[in-house]
Amino acid sequence: MSVLDINGLTVSFRTETGRVYAVNDTSLHVDPGETLAVVGESGSGKSVTALAILRLLGEAGRIDQGSIHLEGEDLTALSELEMTRIRGNRISMIFQEPMTSLNPVIQVGRQVAEPLVLHQGLTWAQGLERAHDLLAKVAIPDPGARIRENPHQLSGGMRQRAMIAMALACSPRLIIADEPTTALDVTVQAQILALLKDLTVETGAALILITHDLGVVARYADRVTVMYGGRIMETAKATNLYRDPRHPYTRGLMNSIPSLDGPVGAALSTIEGQPPDLAHPPPGCPFAPRCSQRQEQCEKQVPPLRRDGERDIACVRHD
C-alpha cells in the first residue's frame, strides 16, 4: 500500500482579489522507501501541496476537494488535535531555510528531542539521549558538544542536518523536504541529499522532495511529478522522464537545463511567456498560452491526467 495517496486535491486561498486556486485536481502517491520529486517553477503549487498534506495552510487557505490518505487514513477528515499528533510524528517536514528554521534561543539538543517528548512521551533526559544518537546518525561531528550549543553556533549545513535529525526523530512514515538544499553550498547539497536518501531507504519511509533543481531530481528521485499552474502535467519514473519527456512543458524544462558540452556562448534556452495568473486561470490547459504545440481544444478544456503505461500525462496531444 502507498504511504501517501492524494486524490483530486484542490486547494484555494482567500485573497483581496478573490479566491485563488493554487492546486487543482492533483493526484499523486508515494510508496515506502520511494523518493518522489515534485518539480515546477515558483507558483506551480508544489509547496502548497506539501502544506496541504500537513494541513498547515493558514487561515486563508482551505482544501476544497479531494482526499489525502496516509496509510489508509484520510487526513482531510481529521480534527486539528488529531493532526497535531500526526505532524512531526508520522509525517515530518524539512524546510528550505535551515538558517532560520531552528529557534535561536533553544539548545539544538532540546529542539531535536522536542518531537520525541511531544509524541512519544519521553522525558527530557531520554529525549536528549536519543537526540545525541540522532545527531550522530546525520553525521554531525561531536554530537555530545553540539546538543548543548545554540543554533547560531552551527553552520548552515549542520543546521540542516539538525533539522533532518529532528524530522527523523519519531521515525515518520513520510518525510516532506521542501527545497532542502536551496540555501546551502553546492558541495553541502550533495551530502545532505545523499543523507536524506540513505535514511529513507534505511527506514522505509517515503520521501517527497520538492525542488526546482532538475539535477537533483535526476540523481536522487525514483519518480518525478511535474507541476505547472497548480496542476500535474506529467508523472513518470525519473529515468523514463529524462530519456523521453512527453509533455511539452517537461520538454521545455529539459531544454532549459544549461549543458556543459553545448557550444560555447550559446544562449540559454527558455520557455516563452509568463506563468498563468492563478486568480484568473485560463479555461483550458494552464500551459496552453506558452505551448508551441497547442491546438484549438487546448484552450477550451483542461486535459485530464491519463495513464499511459507507467506514466501519467495531461496533454491532448497524447491520445
Binding site: L54, L56, E59, M83, T84, R85, I86, R87, G88, N89, S92, M93, F95, E97, T100, S101, L102, N103, P104, V105, I106, E114, P115, L118, H119, M163, M166
Partner: protein
C-alpha cells in the same frame, strides 16, 4: 558575563546608568539599616538644620532627618517601580501575545480597545481613578501597572507578529507542537529582548508617575516619605528657608529616572539583533 563586558565596552553611559540604578536599588533594599534615624522621628529642637555632620542632608520643619527620609523614599519608589513595572510587563505580554499571535478579529478588537485606552492622557486617567478608589500603595501599583501594561502591549504585539511569521514557528507547527506550546516555548522567549527593555524603561516611568501622583497628594498617603510628597509638602513650603528639603528628593528622582533611561536605551541597543556589531 560577556553581556556585561559588552555593556561596559560599547555603552559606557548605559553601564554607568545601570550602576547608579543598582546603587539606588541597594539603598532601597537596605534603607532600614542605612538610615541613621527613623524616617518619622521628630525632634523640634533641630528644626530646619542645614546639611552638616550630624544630619548629612539636613532636617525638615519637624526636625526629621532628610537623609533617612530620602533613603526610605528610595525604598518606596523601588517597590512601586518594580511591582508596577512587573505587573505592566505581565499585562503587556498577555495582551501582546494574544493579539499578535491569534490576529484577525481578536487582534482588531483588542487593538481598538488599546487605541481608545491610549487616547486618554496618563495623568488625567490616574487622577480620575485615584479619586475614585482613594490613595494608597496597592491601588497605585495596580493602576500604574494597568496603565503602562495596556499601552506597552503594542510593542510586544509587534514583536510577536515578527516571531510568528518566522520559519521556526512554522517548523514547530509542522512538528506537531500545540498552540500553547508554541506560545510558551517559541514565541515568548523570542520576544524577551523587547520585554526586558520594556520592563526597564517602565521602572523609570512608574517611579516618575508615582512621584507625580504623590506630589499632587494622590499617591502613597503621608507620613510615608515618598520623594513626590517630600517635594510638594515641606519642600515647597520651606523652599527659601531650607532649599535642601526640595533638592535632596528632587535630585534623587532626576538621577534615578535618568540612569534607568540611559540603561534601558543601552539594553535596547545591545539586545536588538539588528544592532549587533554596530557601535
Amino acid at each position: 558575563m560577556s553581556f556585561l563586558k559588552r555593556l561596559w565596552r560599547d555603552k559606557k553611559l548605559g553601564a554607568i546608568g545601570g550602576l547608579i540604578f543598582l546603587l539606588f536599588l541597594f539603598c532601597g533594599v537596605f534603607a532600614d539599616f542605612l538610615a541613621p534615624f527613623g524616617e518619622n522621628e521628630t525632634d523640634l529642637s533641630v528644626r530646619l538644620l542645614a546639611p552638616g555632620w550630624d544630619y548629612l542632608l539636613g532636617t525638615d520643619h519637624l526636625g526629621r532627618d532628610v537623609l533617612s527620609r530620602v533613603l526610605i523614599g528610595a525604598q518606596l519608589s523601588m517597590v512601586v517601580g518594580f511591582l508596577a513595572a512587573g505587573l505592566a510587563t505581565v499585562i503587556s505580554i498577555i495582551i501582546g501575545v494574544v493579539s499578535g499571535y491569534f490576529g484577525g478579529r481578536i487582534d482588531m478588537l483588542i487593538q481598538r480597545f488599546v487605541d481608545a485606552w491610549m487616547t486618554f492622557p496618563d495623568l488625567v486617567l490616574l487622577i480620575v481613578v485615584v479619586s475614585i478608589v482613594g490613595p494608597g500603595m496597592p491601588q497605585i501599583i495596580i493602576i500604574l501597572g494597568c496603565l503602562y501594561g495596556i499601552a506597552g502591549s503594542r510593542i510586544v504585539r509587534g514583536s510577536v507578529i515578527t516571531v510568528k511569521e518566522s520559519m521556526y514557528t512554522h517548523a514547530a507547527q509542522s512538528m506537531g507542537a500545540s498552540t500553547m506550546r508554541i506560545l510558551v516555548r517559541h514565541i515568548v522567549p523570542n520576544v524577551m529582548p523587547v520585554v526586558i527593555v520594556l520592563f526597564t524603561t517602565r521602572v523609570g516611568a512608574t517611579i516618575l508617575a508615582e512621584a507625580g501622583l504623590s506630589f499632587l497628594g494622590l499617591g502613597v498617603p503621608p507620613p510615608a516619605p515618598t520623594w513626590g510628597s517630600m517635594l510638594s509638602g515641606t519642600g515647597r513650603t520651606y523652599m527659601y528657608m531650607g532649599p535642601w528639603l526640595a533638592l535632596a528628593p528632587g535630585l534623587c528622582l532626576t538621577i534615578v529616572v535618568y540612569a534607568i533611561n540611559v540603561y534601558g536605551d543601552a539594553l535596547r541597543d545591545l539586545l536588538d539583533p539588528r544592532m549587533r556589531g554596530v557601535r
